[in-house]
C-alpha cells in the first residue's frame, strides 16, 4: 500500500515537471471558415515563442491582399509572462470550392514547428461582401475602378472585322487624378490588328453592373482574325493611382484621401472564330470578307500594235482589303502582259477598313486582231447576309487596228524595208465565202470502199487478159498466107453453093462456077485475078505437081464455062459440069504441094 503511494507521487512529480517546462505552440487561426468568393479572410499564424525563419504556406487558390503583418504581445499576469507572436495575412479566394491553407513552419531554439493545414469553404460571390476589416482603402479602390474590354462580336467569321474597346469605369466614390501606366499591352497573335488610340479622353456617364459610373474609352482595336477556332486575347493591364477618400477629415472638414496604386486588368477573353461556310462557296473565292464592288477598266479600247494599254482591276468597299487578293487577269496569249502595279487607298477606322485597292496591268498587243477579254468575276463573303456574292465585270473587246496578224521575224522585216516595196498588203481578217459548194455530211469514204478496190486492182487484173489477147492477135497476123487461102477457099465454096442453087439458070450457074474456080486458084496458087490465063494456070499447076489429067479436066471446065455463056446447054450437062468441078477441085486439093 505504502509502496503504491510512493509510485503515484513520483509519477505526479514527473508529469508536473514536464508541463511546467516551456511549452511551444504554433497554430493557424482563420477569421472565418466559410466565405464568399468576393469576400476576404484573415489568416493568423500564432506562436507563443519568439521563433524566427517563418515560412508561410503557398496560399494556393488565394490572392494575398494584405500582409504579412507581424505583431508581438507580451503580458505579465500574476507574475506570469504570456508571449505571443503573430503573422497575419489577408487573403482573397480566387475560386469556389474547398481551398486548403497549407502548413507554415517556424524555427524555435533549434527545433522546427509546423502548423496543421486548414480547409476553407468558398461559396459563390455574396451580394454585400463584408471584409470585416473596416475600411481598407485598397479594397475600396478595387471595388470602385474597373477595366472592361468590350468585344463587338465574340463569334466572328474568318476575316470578319471585330473591335475591342477598352473602357475604364470609375465610380463616383473614388477619383483618378494622375496618369496611369500601361503595364502589359496585349499582342494579338492570330489577328491582323490596328490600334486606334483615342486622341482625347472624354468622360462619359454610364452604368456598370447597374450602378452609375463614369468611364473613359482608353483605346479601340480593330481586329481581323486570320485563323479559325478559339483564339485568346491577352489582357490589358494598367497600373492606376486611385484616390480613395477616407473617413478622417482634416481641420477644414475635407476628407483626407489616400492614394492607392492599383493594378487592374481586363481579363483574358476568348474569341471563337467561325470558318467561312463551305456550302455555295464559289470556285474563284480568294478570302475576301466584307461588302465590295469590282470593276475592270481599260484606258483605251482601240489601239495599234506595240502601243500600250492599261487595264485596272479595282475592288472597293468595306472589308479585309488589306489581306484579300485580287482575281488574276486572263488575257489572250498574244497580248504581252507586264507585272501589275498595286495601288492601295485604305483607311482604317473603328468601323473597319474601307477604301479601294487596284491592280493596273500594262498590256502590249503583238498582233493585229480583236481580243476579247472575258469577264472577270470577283467573289466575296458578306458576313451581314452570311452569303457569298459574286461581281462580274463586263466583257471588254480590244481592237488592235494596224500591224500584222502573225508574228513577223524582225530580220525579214529589215530586209523588206531595204527593198523598195511598192505595195504592202497587211494581213487582214478575211470575209466569208459566198460559194456554198455543199455536200452531204454522211458521204461514204472512197478509200477502202468496194469501188476503190475495184478501180485499184481492175487495171492490174486486166494486164494478163490484154497480154493473152495480144498474143492471139499477133499469131493471127503472123499467118497471112493461111488467111488468104482460107479466104479464097471460102469464096470458092460460096460460089459453088451459089452455082448449085442456080442449076436451072444456065447463065448464073456458069458465072458462079467460074468465079468459084477462079477464087479457088487464087487461094491455092497465090495469084491475082489479072494473072489468070489458061496457059499460066496449067503451068503453075503442073509445077505444083498436080497430075496432068486433073489439069486437063480443070482447063476443060474453064473452057466449058466460057462456052456455056454463048451456047445452049442441057440440064444434064450442067449437072455433069457441077460434079466435075467438085471432083476436080478435090483432086487438085489432094495433089497440090
Amino acid at each position: 500500500m505504502n509502496r503504491q503511494k510512493h509510485i503515484w507521487l513520483v509519477l505526479f512529480v514527473v508529469l508536473f515537471a514536464f508541463t511546467s517546462q516551456a511549452q511551444v505552440t504554433f497554430e493557424t487561426k482563420v477569421s472565418r471558415k466559410k466565405l464568399g468568393l468576393n469576400e476576404r479572410v484573415r489568416v493568423d499564424f500564432v506562436m507563443n515563442a519568439d521563433g524566427d525563419d517563418f515560412n508561410p504556406p503557398s496560399f494556393e487558390g488565394f490572392r494575398v491582399v494584405g500582409g504579412p503583418n507581424q505583431s508581438i504581445s507580451n503580458s505579465y499576469i500574476n507574475r506570469k509572462r504570456t508571449y505571443s507572436k503573430t503573422y497575419s495575412y489577408f487573403l482573397s479566394p480566387l475560386k469556389q470550392g474547398n481551398l486548403r491553407i497549407g502548413k507554415a513552419s517556424i524555427y524555435v531554439s533549434g527545433e522546427t514547428y509546423t502548423t496543421s493545414s486548414i480547409t476553407l469553404e468558398i461559396t459563390p460571390a455574396v451580394k454585400t461582401p463584408s471584409d470585416g476589416l473596416g475600411n481598407n482603402p485598397e479594397v475600396i479602390a478595387e471595388q470602385n475602378v474597373h477595366l472592361v474590354a468590350e468585344i463587338s462580336n465574340p463569334t466572328p467569321y474568318l476575316n470578319q472585322r471585330l473591335t475591342i474597346t477598352y473602357k475604364l469605369y470609375v465610380s463616383n466614390n473614388v477619383s483618378i487624378t494622375s496618369q496611369w501606366r500601361e503595364i502589359n499591352s496585349p499582342r494579338y497573335a492570330d489577328f491582323w490588328s490596328k490600334n486606334i488610340d483615342s486622341q482625347k479622353l472624354n468622360l462619359f456617364e454610364g452604368k456598370y453592373q447597374g450602378e452609375d459610373y463614369r468611364y473613359v474609352v482608353l483605346k479601340t482595336t480593330v481586329l481581323y482574325p486570320q485563323k479559325t477556332g478559339p483564339l485568346e486575347i491577352e489582357p490589358l493591364t494598367l497600373d492606376v493611382p486611385i484616390d480613395v477618400p477616407g473617413k478622417r477629415r482634416n481641420i477644414f472638414g475635407r476628407s483626407l484621401t489616400t492614394r492607392v496604386n492599383k493594378t487592374i486588368s481586363a481579363g483574358k477573353r476568348t474569341i471563337t472564330v467561325k470558318p467561312l461556310p463551305i456550302k455555295d462557296r464559289p470556285g474563284n473565292f480568294t478570302g475576301a470578307v466584307g461588302d465590295f464592288t469590282f470593276s475592270v477598266t481599260p484606258n483605251k479600247k482601240v489601239l495599234e500594235v506595240d502601243q500600250a494599254l492599261e487595264l485596272s482591276l479595282t475592288v472597293s468597299g468595306k472589308g479585309n482589303l488589306n489581306t484579300l487578293s485580287l482575281p488574276s487577269l486572263k488575257v489572250p496569249s498574244t497580248l504581252e502582259v507586264y507585272e501589275p502595279q498595286r495601288k492601295e487607298n485604305i483607311r482604317t477606322r473603328a468601323s473597319g477598313i474601307s477604301g479601294s485597292i487596284s491592280q493596273t496591268y500594262t498590256l502590249v498587243p503583238q498582233n493585229k486582231g480583236t481580243y476579247p477579254i472575258s469577264p472577270i468575276s470577283f467573289s466575296f463573303f458578306n458576313p451581314d447576309t452570311q452569303t457569298y456574292q459574286s461581281v462580274s465585270s463586263e466583257q471588254i473587246v480590244i481592237r488592235v487596228t494596224a500591224g500584222s496578224a502573225t508574228k513577223q521575224d524582225p530580220t525579214i522585216a529589215q530586209t523588206q524595208t531595204k527593198k523598195p516595196q511598192p505595195l504592202i498588203i497587211e494581213e487582214r481578217f478575211r470575209y466569208i465565202k459566198l460559194n456554198a459548194d455543199l455536200s452531204p455530211i454522211a458521204s461514204p469514204h472512197f478509200f477502202k470502199s468496194k469501188l476503190f478496190w475495184g478501180l485499184l486492182f481492175g487495171p492490174l487484173g486486166l494486164i494478163p487478159l490484154f497480154v493473152l489477147l495480144g498474143k492471139k492477135y499477133r499469131s493471127m497476123r503472123a499467118d497471112v498466107q493461111g488467111l488468104k487461102l482460107r479466104k479464097a477457099n471460102r469464096m470458092a465454096r460460096k460460089y459453088l453453093v451459089e452455082a448449085r442453087k442456080n442449076k436451072h439458070n444456065k447463065a448464073i450457074f456458069y458465072e458462079a462456077l467460074e468465079r468459084s474456080l477462079h477464087n479457088y486458084l487464087k487461094a491455092r496458087l497465090d495469084i491475082q485475078t489479072t494473072q489468070i490465063s489458061k496457059e499460066r494456070i496449067a503451068k503453075l499447076l503442073l509445077e505444083r505437081k498436080v497430075a496432068a489429067m486433073a489439069v486437063l479436066d480443070f482447063e476443060k471446065l474453064l473452057k466449058s464455062c466460057e462456052l456455056a455463056r454463048y451456047t445452049p446447054t442441057s440440064d444434064v450437062a450442067i449437072k455433069q459440069d457441077y460434079k466435075k468441078a467438085i471432083d476436080t477441085i478435090s483432086l487438085i486439093d489432094k495433089q497440090i504441094q
Partner: protein, 249 residues
C-alpha cells in the same frame, strides 16, 4: 412507176439543194448586215439538214469570231480546215482566232521527217490520196502493156522506166492514203469550249490539278472514263478533264 419515184427523189434532192443554197445566201446577207447570231442560226440549220462544206464551216467560224466567241470560232475553222487543208483564207482567219485565245502552248519540236510528212500528207485528204492511187494503178497498167507490146528497143525502155516510176508512186500514194486514214481514225481532236478548266491527274474531282486549260485550245483525245476524257495537248502534257467541256472535231 419506178421512173416516177426516181424522178420524185431527184426532184426532192434538188429542191433541198436549192433551199440550202438560198439559206446560205440569206445567212451571208445577215453576216454582211452584222446580224451574226441570225447568220449562225441559219448556217447551222444547213448543217442540221445533213449538208456541209468548208465554206459553210468557215463562215460559221467567222461569225463566231465577230461575236468574240473564241472557242466556237476555232472549232469551226478546224472543221473547215479538215475539209480543205490548204485553204489560205481559212488559215489566215484561224490565226486571228488563235491570237485571241488565252493559252499559248509551244508544241513539242518535230523531227524533220515528221515535218515533211505533215506537209506532204496535208496536200490531200485520204480520199484524195486514194483517188491518186487508183490513177497510178491505171497508169501503171497502161504503161506496162505499152512496154509489153512496144516494138522498138527505145520505146520499150521508155515504157519500162515510166512504168517502174509509176509503180513506185503508186506504192507511195497508197501508203499515204492508208497512213492518213489511220491518222484520222487514231488522232481525234477536240476544242475546249469552257472558259477555263482544271486538267486533273486522275479522272476524279478531288485529284491534283496539273494545269489549267482555256477556251479554244486544241487537245488530242486519248481515252474516256465515264464523264472524264484523257487528253494530251501539243506540248505533250496529258491529263483528265470533264468530257462536257470539250467538243469533238
Amino acid at each position: 412507176m419506178k421512173c416516177l419515184v426516181k424522178f420524185y427523189v431527184f426532184f426532192i434532192l434538188f429542191s433541198i439543194q436549192g433551199q440550202a443554197q438560198g439559206l446560205f445566201n440569206e445567212a451571208a446577207q445577215n453576216y454582211k448586215n452584222e446580224a451574226y447570231k441570225k447568220a449562225i442560226e441559219q448556217w447551222n440549220s444547213i448543217l442540221d439538214n445533213g449538208q456541209h462544206s468548208a465554206a459553210l464551216y468557215y463562215n460559221i467560224a467567222n461569225a463566231h469570231y465577230k461575236l468574240n466567241q473564241v472557242g466556237p470560232s476555232i472549232y469551226y475553222y478546224e472543221k473547215a480546215l479538215a475539209l480543205a487543208p490548204n485553204d489560205a483564207q481559212i488559215k489566215t482567219n484561224l490565226t486571228f482566232a488563235q491570237n485571241a485565245k488565252v493559252d499559248a502552248i509551244t508544241p513539242l519540236p518535230k523531227t524533220i521527217f515528221s515535218k515533211w510528212y505533215t506537209t506532204i500528207a496535208r496536200q490531200f485528204t485520204f480520199d484524195g490520196w486514194a483517188l491518186l492511187a487508183v490513177l497510178f494503178s491505171g497508169l501503171f497498167s497502161i504503161l506496162f502493156l505499152g512496154y509489153y507490146f512496144a516494138g522498138a528497143e527505145q520505146k520499150k525502155r521508155l515504157f519500162f522506166t515510166t512504168a517502174i516510176i509509176c509503180s513506185c508512186l503508186f506504192v507511195l500514194v497508197f501508203t499515204m492514203a492508208s497512213v492518213s486514214y489511220k491518222d484520222l481514225q487514231k488522232n481525234v481532236f477536240a476544242i475546249v469550249f469552257s472558259e477555263a478548266t482544271d486538267v486533273k491527274s486522275e479522272p476524279k474531282t478531288n485529284s491534283d490539278t496539273i494545269f489549267v486549260i482555256h477556251e479554244g485550245t486544241k487537245v488530242q483525245l486519248l481515252e474516256t472514263d465515264g464523264l472524264w476524257t484523257h487528253v494530251a495537248i501539243v506540248n505533250g502534257v496529258e491529263g483528265w478533264m470533264p468530257s462536257a467541256e470539250l467538243k469533238k472535231l
